[in-house]
Each structure stands twice: as C-alpha cells, then as structure tokens.
Symmetry: C2
Subunit: 212 residues, 2 copies
Amino acid sequence: MRYELYYWPSIQGRGEFVRLALEEAGADYVDIARRPGKRGVPAMMKILEDKRMARPPYAPPFLKAGPLVIAQTANILMYLGQRLNLAPRDEAGKIWAHQLQLTVTDLVVHIHDTHHPVSGWLYFERVLQNNGGTHMVGRRISYVDLSMFEIVEGLRYAFPKRMKRFEKKVPGLVALRDRVAKRPRLAAYLASKRRIPFSQWGIYRYFKELDA
Amino acid sequence: MRYELYYWPSIQGRGEFVRLALEEAGADYVDIARRPGKRGVPAMMKILEDKRMARPPYAPPFLKAGPLVIAQTANILMYLGQRLNLAPRDEAGKIWAHQLQLTVTDLVVHIHDTHHPVSGWLYFERVLQNNGGTHMVGRRISYVDLSMFEIVEGLRYAFPKRMKRFEKKVPGLVALRDRVAKRPRLAAYLASKRRIPFSQWGIYRYFKELDA
C-alpha cells in the first residue's frame, strides 16, 4: 500500500516520529504537503477544512492508509507498528509500546513548560535498562526506539550545553540513538533531503536562557 | 475480573475519564488510592517507586487488569472500551474512537495554556453532528461520550460565565452531556461519594481572570 503522510512541510515536528517509522521500514509513502504547488499544502488544507468529513483529523500529522484517515501521532504509530513490523505483536507488548509512545508525547509537550526539560527522560533510561539495554520494547527494534532517537537529537539541538552534561545520566539512550542512526535505511534517510533540519519553528527550539 | 484503578484520591483529574467508563459499565473495580491508611496512597506509591518493574507506569492513572499494568488515560480507555463494550469493535471504529480520545487529552492539556480554552470543542460538536447528533462514535454509547460529559462539567466549573455563552455554540454536546448524566448507573455514581467534587487542585481550576 502507498501511504500518504500529511504534515507541515517546513518542520520535523510530530510528523517526524511517523516519518522515521516509514523510512526505517522502507515503506512506500508520499509526503503530501512537501509536494510543490497545489498538490502540496493546499491538498492537506482541503482535508482539514472539509466540514462534511465524518471522521476528520483535528490537526496534522495524519495518515491516509487506503480508506482510513488516521490522526494523532501515537495512534498512527500504533497502526503502522503492526503493518511495518515495528512493534510487538502480542497484546500486552502492543499496549506497552503504545503507552511509552504516549508518554513521549506528554514529555514533548512539556519540554518547554519546565525548567527541567530532561529529567523525565530518566524514566526512559530505566525502562531501557530493565529491558536489557538494547531495545525499549521486546527483543527487536520498534517505533519507540526510533522516537528515542528523535528525542535525543531534538534535545541536543535545543539544549546543547545541558545535554552534554545530561547525557552521562542516560548512557543507554545515547547508545540506542547511535545504533538507530547507523541502521542502513535510516542513515540514508538522515543524509537525504527528505530529512528536514531542526529549526526555531519546530518542537525543539533553542533558547539561550533555557540552556543554562 | 476485578480491576484496580490507581489515581490520586482527592481530585477527579485524568482518573475520572477511566472511572466514568468503569461506572457506566457496572464493572467490578477497586479505587485503590482512596482506601484508608496504608492500603491507599502508599500502595500506589509502592508501584510508582518500584525501580525493578519491567513495564512501569510513568504516572497515574494506571489500571491493573490481571497481569497487565496499563497507564495513559487514552490507552486504558482503549483497553477497557473493548472489554466493557464501550467502543466500536471494528478496527476503523476502534482507531477513530481512540483518536478522538487522544484529541480530548490534547485539549485538556491546553485548557489553561490558551486564552480561548473552549474553541477547540467546536471540533467535537462538528464530529457529533456529522455522526447523527446522538453519539460521538458509532450508533451507541462509547467512552468518548462519557469523556465529553466530563469535559462539559469541567468547563462549567472552571469557566462558568464563558460556558454560559459558549454552550449556545455546542448544543449537541450539551444535549449529549444531559443524556449521559441520566444514564441509570452514571446518575447513581454521580450522586454517590465515589464521585469526587471538582476543586482548585484538579484539571479544571476556576480563575476569575480567565473567566472573562
């Protein structure tokens, strides 16, 4: 199936968590809003502004998968996780992976609300270590690992000084980030123009006063 | 199965969305942290502070369902929705109900972040009307309807003046709130001591300056 991803074209933002999963799996997908002209952002706005749609997304990102239009980052990843083999298949494992992803969402929301934007990540270090230190969930790669990569990258961009110190406290997550970055498909993706650079307009903005 | 709900005992908060589902279904459950003495909050803290737990919750609410410990409100509701017959059974309907619940979560987070805390709810009014005006999802009651009840109640508590004006714009949601409040099990629950009153410590705090 050719998936259609709908997300703002100029930031990584929440869409990037989905993009990483599609790229890692080598899935066939179109990044709709990044297409030029009317086929780009206007095509996305047309769906967002369709008042008669029975199951409208509230906001990007959303994914078209055949007849389904799925919104909410963690919901999209739960759906794709099964199809792209990026999540445990048993019910308990599936629920647990989704739970971690929702906790990622919570902490991303709070990154700029708090004076200690990184401390919540100690929780993920502990989960990783208790699972053997190699993967967040189960015995192989999942979308949660990919999201951890994105979080470390984003925090490095937003809080370069703080992260330098903080990374000593989360050695497992840093090593996981390095392993994810070296996966062949992801390495190719990260080096491509498909990867949007971090910027002051995304989730992870650099504020000098926050990077004490 | 006897479910165990773990949530802070003195506020409705996020735990209330789960409680409404358990109450509506007449499920057998224990509200652990509301038990007196050591069997209450300390029993919850013991789990939250257990550093060796393989799949630890990051924060309350969480639900014990046999061997499973499930956290994240929307994740708990997705799980319970199937077991308590409070969600569509087909995959597309299940994904859609969960998507709406995650959007509820987003908007609850933003209630105090914005000067227009209620405008996002116009989206839910539209979804309701496009689905026939009686239920948020499918043709019968779901946990999303129960959450809509809670949201209207909370906004009435936090923004009494604004809501009085705003309710004219969301007549469907207000009518849905009334129907939910009259369901026999929920009416009994709402009149009982199991229902914690709204307070200045919960999600919906009244701030005079916000209630313009």
